[in-house]
Symmetry: C2
Subunit: 133 residues, 2 copies
């Protein structure tokens, strides 16, 4: 028996549990999370976690920072990423590196959803929200 | 100064060096590799590497195995992945887990290119080719 598998996609949904983005709070809006690989049974060999986040049009993730880095690849829609004091328009297949400690936020502020993969270490520190300036 | 950045995509090409898939050999055909994140300057905090492989129509990666696992997400085209004795058709956004030791191969055998992200640990063992049966 093997743990290898294919998770087929249908319009950016996969046969894994949809989890809340975070537990409550009003620092974000309209964000969902799929954990694709790295936390499930039989996936213990993975030291990193592949998640898919989707921000509905008009929504945004928490403005936050943490020590662990992010590797992000956009899968669908359009939006903006804030990295420190800079903002960048992002579209499908654009790749984003969020360095340790960087204040960052993803926004679906261009009239469409924004869906992206975000890979992180399995063992990582908790994000800390940053008050908007 | 920060190491954070956006790598904009244009038809599944990014402003990073295109590397050969492997160094020579005839066990694969028409495969290119972009290392998107995890090996560049300023990316030392990443313990994993995000690569993009593209198999041209009719091509295939090496049939191989290794101890490190793969987390794969298809970005474009169509093809087939072999996992042990099983084969699965794969399309954009499908996600593939290749467990440690699994014999695997990606084939663009459905008349189109097959482009996919493949995330691995930065420190990992070398793949070992498997003779076709």
């Amino acid at each position: 028996m093997t743990a290898s598998k294919v998770l087929p996609a249908r319009d950016f949904r996969w046969p894994v549990a949809l989890k809340p983005y975070k537990d409550g709070g009003d620092l974000y809006r309209d964000v969902t999370r799929h954990t694709l690989l790295g936390e499930g049974e039989g996936e213990e060999a993975l030291s990193f976690v592949t998640r898919y986040f989707e921000v509905a049009a008009g929504g945004y993730s928490t403005l936050e920072q943490h020590r662990h880095p992010h590797a992000v690849v956009v899968l669908c829609g359009r939006g903006t990423v804030q990295l420190g004091a800079s903002r960048f328009a992002i579209e499908p297949s654009d790749c984003v590196y969020v360095a340790p400690g960087e204040v960052h936020q993803f926004r679906a502020d261009r009239g469409e959803r924004l869906g992206f993969l975000c890979v992180v270490d399995r063992d990582r520190d908790r994000p800390v929200p940053v008050p908007p300036r």
